[in-house]
Symmetry: C2
Subunit: 179 residues, 2 copies
């Protein structure tokens, strides 16, 4: 696109925070309308990947995990960070295997989006996993329990606002969309 009249230009900036998961830059930015502003951007070192594991009856395998950030015991889909050099689909499959003890023989792309677009460059990569096979046990360190859920059960959880993990909610909505 040659029209970049809408682009906010970085004039200068500095890294104001870093930990093993993300860095934070504070940039001085030139707005297209001519004024300057400060903008903080959270930059995760790695994207994240999540997967909707579906069995032959159409049930979804979910994990229940405690979220220290909110103190909630939350039903979610398997998800985690993409390792360096790792493909997003491979990461989704690995996280599923590690967290649930189940493997997907086929992994299909579902969606790619930015969960906190105003403050972070974080990208969530969503997949669907089919051809499930149990190859081990679920990870008792990260996961409280696992379970297979029918679509009507998941829809009920949504109607009651019980699915509060954004990645899982968005992935399940996209998976069921137009079906």
């Amino acid at each position: 696109v040659s029209d970049d009249s809408y682009v906010w230009k970085r004039l200068s900036g500095s890294r104001v925070f870093e930990n093993p998961y993300y860095s934070i830059d504070k940039d001085r930015v030139l707005h297209p309308q001519g004024y300057e502003l400060d903008y903080y951007v959270v930059k995760p070192w790695r994207p994240a990947a999540g997967i909707v594991p579906v069995d032959e009856a159409g049930r979804v395998l979910m994990v229940r995990q405690y979220r220290y950030t909110t103190g909630v015991l939350s039903w979610e889909i398997p998800a985690g960070g993409v390792n360096e050099g790792e493909d997003c689909a491979a990461a989704a499959g690995r996280e599923m295997r590690e967290e649930t003890g189940w493997e997907a023989q086929r992994i299909e792309p579902l969606y790619r989006y930015h969960p906190s677009h105003g403050s972070s460059s974080q990208t969530f990569n969503l997949f669907v996993g089919r051809g499930l096979k149990q190859v081990g046990e679920f990870d008792r360190k990260e996961i409280h329990s696992i379970g297979f859920f029918r679509r009507d059960e998941i829809e009920g959880m949504m109607t009651r606002n019980e699915l509060v993990d954004g990645l899982s909610l968005t992935a399940l909505l996209l998976f069921f969309r137009g079906k």
Copy 2:
């Protein structure tokens, strides 16, 4: 619930970062299985609220805005931070009015979730706005353009993975769910 065997207990912690939008705590945490770990939590000072504005023909009013975090010119629903002492629904209505120049006469709750559950306590509060009335102009500082979209147009944007803002994507999927 009396069973708190799954709770990760905070042993100690310190605030390692602060800016006008959020703070970051680094906590030492006792896992229920007996080992200790460090956990970083991003804690926004305020929740955010977003609104799906729907006209009488069922079209959704969206805003196109440049996102400095990703360099994307993105179609989104009106959204923003909830001010101190402000009700989330009122914040959603205010953001819509400020960003689009349109007002909603009725604001209904849609959903409440955590967009980055692994790293942040951030809460997104979603609403639907009905009974639209134009009361001013859209905000040329924050917004590139605005437009009304039919459901089939929005579904097409989703099919092409063009809606990349998580809050908007999730809100629109929830709004169209089961319709």
